[in-house]
Symmetry: C2
Subunit: 331 residues, 2 copies
């Protein structure tokens, strides 16, 4: 099977279906050209994709992106080097230049010239096809389910906390928000054996963690001034102040939420209490994949609903409802 022309053999059309974002409005389009890969890229036929909180924030204007959204996916390589064709893959979302200061200093996810799948200057994964540089792909073993593999990207983001900050048994850690990302963060922190507490307003989200033996509680019951580390992943600005108040002096607030609005901050208060705030974003794919393959992290109970791409707007409406965790597209 040749590296080129494969697309047209399997899929006798030059247009595809995808979910398009423009001026904060989503629509399902049938007329988009199948993307054309560059020489270092592969064309991937998307099999499954997941809606992330960043996708919801993009529809609220957090970042002015126009294009196909979506960045969590599993696909089949459709065009690329012969040995890759037909492989099941997941893909890192930052496509990088390899030459800028960030790239040369091993901070590739911060490449100055990067495009980001479904977020910045690159059409995304809520589509029949996407392109990514070959170097971004990770081949999936047949033992890993497609559903589980769809969580590779958000699990990597959860694990990024531990690449930035050493967390161990001695630490008293709170996770604020038991949503899509909070669930993965809590499950990955559980493995450190730290003293873990997860807070949310939603009982059903919390029960997925308390059933696993993790201490959970309502947001109104969060004590002040006690946690060594607080991870804010509510996806809304109010979460910041709640997480900050929960910290002991010299504690660390990990910020995982991106949202459209700004925050007013009392800097002197952070200085007096010597608080550290740490922004945290994309993480290690290799490690995330290993943990999914070895079933160290279970994710399948997080799937709330599945939609075909053609029902993209319904899928987003569902994903926005309180209490809903992961919504997947069966492409």
């Amino acid at each position: 099977m040749g590296a080129k022309g494969n697309r047209y053999k399997d899929n006798l059309k030059a247009t595809m279906r995808a979910i398009w974002l423009e001026n904060k409005e989503l629509c399902v389009r049938e007329d988009l050209p199948v993307p054309v890969r560059l020489s270092d890229e592969v064309l991937v036929r998307v099999l499954r994709a997941g809606i992330c909180n960043t996708d919801l924030e993009l529809t609220r204007g957090y970042y002015p992106f126009t294009g196909v959204i979506g960045h969590e996916f599993v696909g089949l390589v459709d065009e690329g080097p012969d040995e890759w064709i037909g492989q099941h893959v997941v893909g890192e979302i930052n496509a990088v230049c390899g030459r800028c200061t960030s790239c040369l200093n091993l901070r590739r996810t911060h490449c100055t010239n990067r495009t980001v799948l479904g977020i910045h200057k690159r059409d995304g994964a809520f589509a029949e096809f996407l392109t990514l540089p070959l170097e971004n792909l990770h081949i999936l073993p047949s033992t890993l389910s497609i559903d589980a593999a769809t969580f590779t990207e958000p699990l990597a983001a959860a694990l990024q906390i531990q690449s930035q900050l050493k967390i161990d048994k001695q630490d008293c850690v709170m996770v604020l928000g038991a949503g899509k990302l909070g669930q993965l963060i809590a499950r990955s922190l559980e493995l450190t054996e730290c003293d873990l507490h997860v807070f949310d307003r939603n009982e059903s989200k919390l029960s997925l963690l308390s059933n696993r033996g993790i201490f959970t509680g309502h947001v109104d019951a969060i004590p002040n001034g006690v946690f060594d580390i607080a991870v804010e992943c509510t996806g809304n600005p109010e979460g910041f102040n709640i997480a900050r108040r929960s910290l002991r002096p010299l504690g660390t607030l990990v910020m995982k939420s991106t949202y459209a609005s700004n925050l007013t901050l009392d800097v002197s208060d952070l200085v007096v209490d010597e608080i550290t705030l740490m922004g945290s974003r994309c993480g290690p794919f290799d490690l995330a994949l290993d943990m999914l393959i070895n079933k160290q992290i279970e994710v399948e109970d997080l799937i709330h609903a599945r939609y075909p791409l053609s029902q993209g707007l319904d899928a987003f409406e569902t994903a926005k409802q309180p209490g809903v965790l992961k919504v997947l597209f069966d492409v």
Copy 2:
């Protein structure tokens, strides 16, 4: 010489002169009672004291303190255990309970029940006498000048950065603000042999550092996105955004300034660039004293003017002028 009654022998009055802050207004008072020490405290006759930016911020309402202000001092022990009487001392400014969670976890400067000399619930050092717990005092060797020793507290605050954050030769570090604290921070960072750059608007402040071989520049010439670490010690809110912009992704902004106003922050921007903000306050007195004794840090060129306590308001007016570094009181 007995431990008690010494005060009345040397100083035949029960009232003293001090600089009093109330409702953001300063006044020199002659009628204040000499403070009475508790059983674990000593009475210190103040010899010299320095005006800090926190003192200036207190007059702007950064924190609603009423009382004698001032916290940088050198004094003579006037009442206390026999072996301490007549010793030259400096003193740590946080008087702690020893029993709260912070104290029991070696975070004594964050004691929940603390009083802070001239800042919070404890009269301060711009006075003829002050009291502090005996455990707060450090005896000065005769080889250390009283002028230099007056810088122990702010130098400890400068050194706190390095107790929170490892900084070494590989790091490209910028200090924003070459004022009283910025000078000490720059001089302490210089010893790490990091790639150090100091920025300010004031040429004369910068020249004290460039004369020592430190790279300095005007604030308008600060490049964006290049520094591993930025230390914000301008004492004003605009400094924050300048320092933040100067950082590369995954960089660290050390916040040393306390000021009265709040700051509006784009949290998503900190998350995307994975920036760490680190509040930093009081630091290690032992280390600061050692460095002053060993002349690893020189401070005497930072002294701009000296006033008697009776001219306290003039001293504060001078200290507020741009370009002015340390103003001392000869008590």
